[in-house]
Symmetry: C2
DNA sequence: CGTATAATTGCATCATGGTGCAAGCAAGCA
DNA sequence: TGCTTGCTTGCACCATGATGCAATTATACG
């Protein structure tokens, strides 16, 4: 929303020779979802519990209101970190371990393929 | 700061059998650093430029004040995403591709080793 | 020295986001 | 139908964070 559409920008963008697909892999939404300690706590808790909990179960012992947990889970869900399924009155949340792990690996691969040592821009002595 | 020290908590934490080291790998600081679109833009730009730029170079064409860029770079540096080296008057920033990729891979591995399908908590039909 | 350049930091302002309470909605049950 | 439970959403409040301008520090140059 802020970064518009790739934003050609006034400055020279000609040097995008490497790290081509990096930008597409870096999703602010994903990182924003994992940037909050409370959400991270819920994430770990959800993973530790066997990757499936109801909102109420996660709220128990979290120290915050159930509405807060509900909102945090919504953020995680919109980021694709977890998925939720309604069964009766309850909503069961599941960690998307495979999906998230895949994204992180793609990102790691893109980074490794990026910026070869002594590629360019590095000043020798100046 | 918020999550205290592992927080034994009132609720049952007995089910931390899996995803043991997951919590230690999930650093709010790292994700927070990558959660801002502007910082992500600087990150991509820095990677695309050959992984080495001065603060001024990054500020050019970024559309924001140099002080803003400086602050964003500080956040990235404190998160270990980049490293900065002062040479003369200028500060050269470098993307820590290997470090970041390593962290992401460790996290991906931990997630894959986590939550085996049909482990527990999953309701069959209820 | 004094000046210019590069970058950081202080300060004020504004936007975003986390939180709790209460109301609303959906689903099961008597 | 009325009631209870599980969860979501609206609203207000407060903390955090992003931004721009100005002042400060550090380094190079004359």
């Amino acid at each position: 929303m802020v970064q518009a559409s790739k934003s050609p920008g006034p400055a020279a963008e000609s040097s995008s020779r490497c790290c081509a697909g990096l930008e597409d892999l870096l999703s602010p939404r994903l990182f924003k979802a994992l940037s909050d300690p409370r959400r991270l706590q819920l994430f770990v808790r959800l993973a530790g519990e066997g990757c499936a909990c109801t909102v109420g179960q996660l709220a128990d012992g979290s120290g915050v209101d159930l509405s807060v947990v509900s909102r945090h889970l919504a953020v995680l869900r919109e980021a694709g970190v977890i998925s939720c399924e309604k069964r009766g009155k309850e909503v069961w949340c599941t960690v998307q371990t495979g999906e998230v792990a895949g994204i992180l690996r793609d990102l790691a691969d893109a980074l490794d393929a990026c910026c070869p040592p002594g590629a360019a821009g590095e000043p020798a002595a100046h």
